[in-house]
Amino acid sequence: MRKTQKLLHKVADLKIFSPFKAVFETIDGIVYGTPHVTPGAPHFLDHIEIKRFMIFAVAALIPTTVAAVYFFGLHVLWMIITSYVVGGIVEVSFALIRKREIEEGFLVTGLIFPLILPPTLPLWAVAIGSFFGIMFGKEIFGGTGRNIFNPALVGRLFITMAFPEIMSARWIAPFTDTLTSATPLTVFNGEGTITSLRELLFGIGLQTGAGSMGEVFRIGIIAGGLFLILAKVTDWKIPTFYLGSVALFSWILNMVSPQVAPPAFQLLSGGLLFGAFFMATDPVTTPYTKMGKVIFGVGAGILTVLIRGFAGYAEGVMFSIILMNGMTPLIDHMVMENKYRKSTI
């Protein structure tokens, strides 16, 4: 053991710090790594661990985050910091109360959550959303790995419901500061105009509307999502079937009803790409069975097209993913029962 590590252990053993054991353990784990060795076969283990797993997702979000700061200014940075601080406090206090280790899940949630918010949202709203999302989306279920719903989406759902006015009229186009209620999707719902696909893809020159701060730079989202798939952090099935079913069903429904936008516009507008690559791929809240992943993707795709086309909301990604999150245990159960229906040994 290193000298500094020994010192840390000595400080942690002091009586006044005894309620904060989890904090010291986390610092120990983050800085020095684990001193534990394998108890038996297998005698050495893969280098993947939860922190490394999470840092991959954060790395994949860097292009999107940098673009958001570039497009919408420094307020974005403050929103991210607020989200991390509030989320971190909730996570740490829960760990201390439960006398468990601090889990690393909020590293990703804390970054994803502000990225799905309008860029001018006041910081107090970010704080409330982050608190609610991590507390009721995750901690009350038992922490990372045991939650049913994606915590970032739970937080956003809460502030959408609680403060509808600031969530619907707080959008700005990149490089401007005029508040507007028009995103490409609301513009389509109102006037039937389709924003130029090239503008949507790069996020630059968006005149007709804006979006959540993380969803505007779509090239960056695609790059990050592909990186995660190539890195084998996320599975390719959910994004592929999600985007594929959105394209397919919007193509079919578009021929029936003009209320439904055509496939290319559906794919490139709103939070679909961000949702498909970063939220629907959260391993905890999506099915673990291979067939279940396919069902999840297709189901979320149909729901997205239906909500966007026929419901009162212009955006359907958040609702469809949350709904499918709720169905995940059922999907998994059905797939497993179907696969192993024969009663054999």
Binding site: H43, F44, I50, F53, K232, T286, I345
Partner: protein
């Protein structure tokens, strides 16, 4: 001979590690003392020698035909120093200690035979039994003595394997340089004589083309080219890949009328029959970053591990592992002797000090199922020590375990059932008995959960609670019962 490419679903390729051995054979000379534990008996009187006796290499020390296996034979010339009961993996067994007299000679088992064709199966079987070779491999070599759970005539598949799927493997060129290729083929035809009804397969790493060409011979009915991904070399998976019969973890290839042997055993068969040489010594592959110089060594069976690793440890705190880093057991006491089932000795450094800020560093020297920390591209030798590389957390359902599972199970789900004490028909229906204990799920787990331990516990409890018996497992997989 037909050549077929076969593989299985799942699995994981281990490559680019530190500590691969050189393809040379070194001799470490004769050991001063050797020990022979009589593992299958408790009685001191069963030993055929007594204290102070002079023994010759090849002489029988213990024999009991009621117990499956070969007799215990002396592997050096010398005198019996002591026969006393010693604690051995939880039970007291008699251990014979022999002090060497420094001579290398050995007594042939039988008369030396030049003409291998004239031998009949009975001669060969007798020689193999008294040479100690017949108990090699998981199920032994079937003879008319009690050496294998199945009879010679019942064997339908004889599989010789060289899959190189583990982390560290024995080099084929080393084995076939010590003996020649002809010796290997002669050994094989001797085995074919014992098992006349068997279809003979050679399971060969398909990324080793020079040896595939050399080994192509009409003695084999089929050359199976396998992908060198773990756990292809494990007998259950290999039998399934080659013959198509699924072997659940509680059973052995013998239940599917198959015998799996490695190349070195075939050479021992040749040595025993052709020159009368009993199983005195083995070529042991010494690998792993814990050794300062790594090579293959020729060691007399019964030599203590202390004498084998002498001068190679470089003062490190090592863990010595027998045969495989994935499934092998660690050597608990270095004074213990080498047994005949050991082929590879691996030394891994105990990683008791974690690496600072490990998780933020690019993984140029890290071996991981996630292949982008660039570890798949960079040819730097990968670090491997016994550190856990992370803390245990709740399961994320990341999918690594069921993507690599060679039996197509969902270890994460089975683990949740066993952890919550719900060990009943459901886990059985989810296929827990298909688990072959390859430990790959534990290896790739992101949350560092010992998944394979839970699988073992689940299986043991199902059998204990009477949900399934070995007989029921065998019938449900269409396998035969053996002794």
């Amino acid at each position: 001979m037909e050549t077929k490419k076969k593989t299985f679903k799942g699995g994981f390729v281990f490559k680019g590690f530190q500590g691969y051995p050189l393809a040379v054979v070194e001799s470490i000379g004769l050991p001063e003392t050797v020990m022979y534990p009589l593992l299958d008996t408790k009685s001191l009187n069963e030993a055929l020698v007594s204290k102070g006796d002079t023994v010759k290499a090849g002489q029988l020390l213990w024999q009991n035909d009621d117990v499956m296996g070969s007799p215990v034979i002396a592997t050096i010339n010398g005198t019996v120093k002591s026969i006393k009961p010693t604690m051995w993996e939880g039970s007291k067994v008699p251990v014979i200690t022999v002090e060497s007299d420094g001579t290398e000679k050995w007594t042939p088992v039988k008369g030396v035979t030049e003409d291998l064709d004239s031998l009949d199966a009975a001669d060969i079987e007798e020689t193999l039994y008294f040479a100690g070779v017949a108990s090699s491999g998981r199920d032994g070599i079937p003879t008319r003595f009690n050496t294998s759970p199945i009879k010679s005539e019942e064997v339908q598949h004889l599989i010789v394997k060289h899959c190189e799927s583990d982390v560290y493997n024995t080099d084929l060129s080393v084995l076939l340089r010590e003996n020649t290729l002809e010796d290997f083929f002669d050994g094989l035809s001797l085995l074919k004589k014992i098992m006349p009804n068997a279809r003979v397969y050679m399971a060969m790493n398909r990324k080793n083309p020079p040896w595939i060409k050399e080994l192509s011979s009409d003695l084999f009915d089929e050359m199976v080219l396998v992908t060198p991904k773990y756990p292809q070399g494990q007998d259950e998976i290999l039998t399934e890949t080659v013959t198509g019969m699924k072997i659940p973890g509680e059973c052995t290839p013998a239940n599917a009328s198959a015998i799996v042997l490695d190349v070195q055993t075939v050479l021992h068969v040749y040595d025993a029959v052709k020159t009368g040489k009993p199983l005195l010594e083995k070529i042991i592959t010494m690998a792993g970053p814990g050794f300062s110089n790594r090579s293959h060594v020729k060691v007399r069976i019964g030599t203590s591990f202390d004498q084998i690793v002498k001068g190679r440890t470089a003062g490190k705190e090592n863990r010595y592992i027998i045969n495989s880093t994935m499934t092998g057991s660690a050597v608990s006491d270095m004074a213990k002797p080498l047994e005949s089932d050991c082929n590879i000795l691996i030394a891994l450094e105990e990683g008791r000090v974690g690496e600072i800020m490990l998780w933020t560093k690019p993984g140029f020297r890290k071996h991981s199922i996630m292949n982008t920390m660039a570890n798949a591209i960079f040819p730097l030798a990968k670090i491997n020590n016994t550190n856990m590389n992370g803390e245990e957390r709740a399961c994320l359902s990341c999918g690594n375990c069921y993507n690599v599972c060679p039996s197509g199970l969902y270890p994460t789900q089975l683990f949740k059932y066993v952890e919550r004490d719900k060990v009943d028909e459901t886990v059985m229906r989810y296929g827990i008995f298909k688990c072959i204990d390859c430990n790959l799920c534990t290896y790739v787990c992101t949350a560092k959960i010992p998944l394979s331990d839970f699988m073992k516990e689940g299986k043991a409890r199902l059998i204990k609670d009477g949900y399934a018996s070995k007989k029921e497992i065998l019938t449900s997989y269409g396998l035969k019962e053996t002794e």
